[in-house]
Amino acid sequence: MLLAATTAAVLMLLQQAPAEATDWDAEFGVEVKERDPVTGELPVDPYEQSNANAGAKPYDSAGLAADFGGREGIARIAARTIELSEADPRIAAIFEAHDTVRLKRTLGEQFCYLLGAGCDYSGRDMKTAHAEMGVTKADMNALVENLQTAMREAGVPFAAQNRLLAKLAPMSRDVVER
């Protein structure tokens, strides 16, 4: 017993303390991503950009885009949807590890493209973007409610709100995993 304790103590003393300025990220191969100084977004692995990634064909209706307040209105609604979701205890955890700066932009582009408001979608396709996130239908419902809140706040007529949801609803096939 005494010998064991002594040995343990000796072992501890024999250990070399790491140098003060050890770069642990480098030591363990952790890559530090720097936000882009202009856009504020984190870099992502390259992928093929295409409007087909938006997951649906766009509407061709000037009136519909106007109902959403045009490109600027749409961008605000997308950003607001993410803000509400980050503050929503039901789904906040999903967004915690996400670059929401980039998400706000790409979601805005997707809405803008689908509503025929003249944007190109530069994000990834829905299946890749949601891979291994384990999104449930309940999560999707929560996001829909937050989007509805954002659209209501922006004064979008309910029928127009539903037309955007009509484009998004079939994407549940690629988003909902369990």
Binding site: L3, A4, T7, K137, M140, N141, F158, A169, P170, V176
Partner: protein, 335 residues
């Protein structure tokens, strides 16, 4: 104790190589212990406690029943997507059964719902109330009791002033495929079900000409919310022999099961409000002029859990008393 001692000792020996002190010598003889402390490089290291595989984590161990996590009364459905409650206690419109599953639960959850409905007609009064349980997005079980007050007609028919017919409905519905809101636009939510009904007026309904005092309806329903048009469309086929929903028994000497149709159209005004119309065909087994039923309705989700439905119903002729048009009011609480 000795193992601990030897392990540490061996470590110390390794650290102090090359000359082990005499005190450590007996320990060095224990080769297996030494190997356990420093595994070979190609041997994988296992964590002390294996992480639980969710698929295998069961209440009774690996070979026992797999009891998944269940959210009871947690909710999560979009407003109104559990439908309101039909006069037979199923999730649906006021008159027509839908493919929707009652309760506000999501997959893996259990929901409960209860309703009361009243219909005021020129010659009759209808009261029904019931409870419903929903299991995930899969199964709905329901029970409802309807009381049909004949008021003055009772006296005129010689069955007694204010004679009240009673029928109890035990319902079950299983969703087979599709989703009311999500997924492919062309694929509606599809459900099959039964409604087993028991008239509490066996002797009387047989005297009127019914073959049985109990019977079972079989239903197939398809329901979809077409978001692009804010339009809910429902079609149900019901294979039934019920006379006036079973209030007047089932079948007759000459008529049995027939296929009937229930259709609903609803327009979503907001998250909380929907207006629409319904049609329900009914057989006329007793030759009393059983008419098709129609309604125009408005439903409003007052809160996430309380939905009120008001309708103007045209129930045609009931027990030879025609033009039975009136008001329908229903309240549903759902969790």
């Amino acid at each position: 104790m000795f193992t601990t001692f030897s392990s540490l000792a061996v470590l110390a020996a390794a650290a102090n190589a090359p000359t082990p002190q005499i005190a450590y010598a007996p320990v060095l003889l224990e080769e297996p212990a030494a190997e356990a402390v420093s595994p070979a490089a190609d041997e994988p290291l296992y964590p002390a406690i294996a992480p639980l595989d969710p698929a295998q984590a069961t209440a009774l161990g690996e070979d026992g029943a797999n009891i998944p996590h269940v959210d009871v009364l947690e909710g999560g459905k979009l407003l109104l997507t559990n439908g309101v409650t039909t006069i037979e206690g199923s999730s649906g419109g006021g008159l027509a059964r839908w493919a929707t599953i009652g309760g506000r639960q999501m997959a893996g959850g259990i929901g409960l719902s209860a309703h009361v409905t009243g219909i005021e007609l020129p010659d009759f009064g209808w009261r029904s109330y019931g409870v419903m349980a929903g299991f995930g997005d899969r199964l709905e079980l329901s029970f409802a009791r309807a009381d049909f007050d004949t008021r003055d007609v009772g006296a005129a028919l010689g069955i007694g002033q204010g004679y009240t017919f009673n029928v109890e409905t035990f319902g079950a519905k299983v969703r087979l495929a599709g989703d009311l809101v999500y997924g492919d636009t062309w694929l509606p939510q599809i459900a099959v079900g039964i409604e087993h009904k028991r008239s509490r007026d066996g002797a009387l309904v047989r005297a009127i000409g019914a073959k049985d005092s109990s019977g079972t309806d079989f239903t197939v329903s398809a329901t979809k919310l077409f978001l692009a048009r804010s339009l809910l469309v429902n079609a149900t086929l019901r294979y039934t022999e019920a006379n006036e929903l079973g209030l007047l028994g089932f079948g007759s000497a000459t008529h049995g099961y027939k296929l009937q149709f229930e259709g609903s159209l609803g327009y979503q005004l907001s998250r909380r409000a929907v207006i629409g119309a319904e049609l329900r065909t009914k057989p006329d087994n007793l030759g009393l002029g059983d008419d098709n039923w129609m309604d125009v309705f408005a439903a409003y989700a007052l809160t996430d859990n309380l939905t009120l439905t008001a309708a103007y119903v045209d129930l045609g002729s009931i027990a030879t008393f025609s033009d039975q048009r009136g008001g329908f009011l229903s309240a549903q609480v759902a969790f």
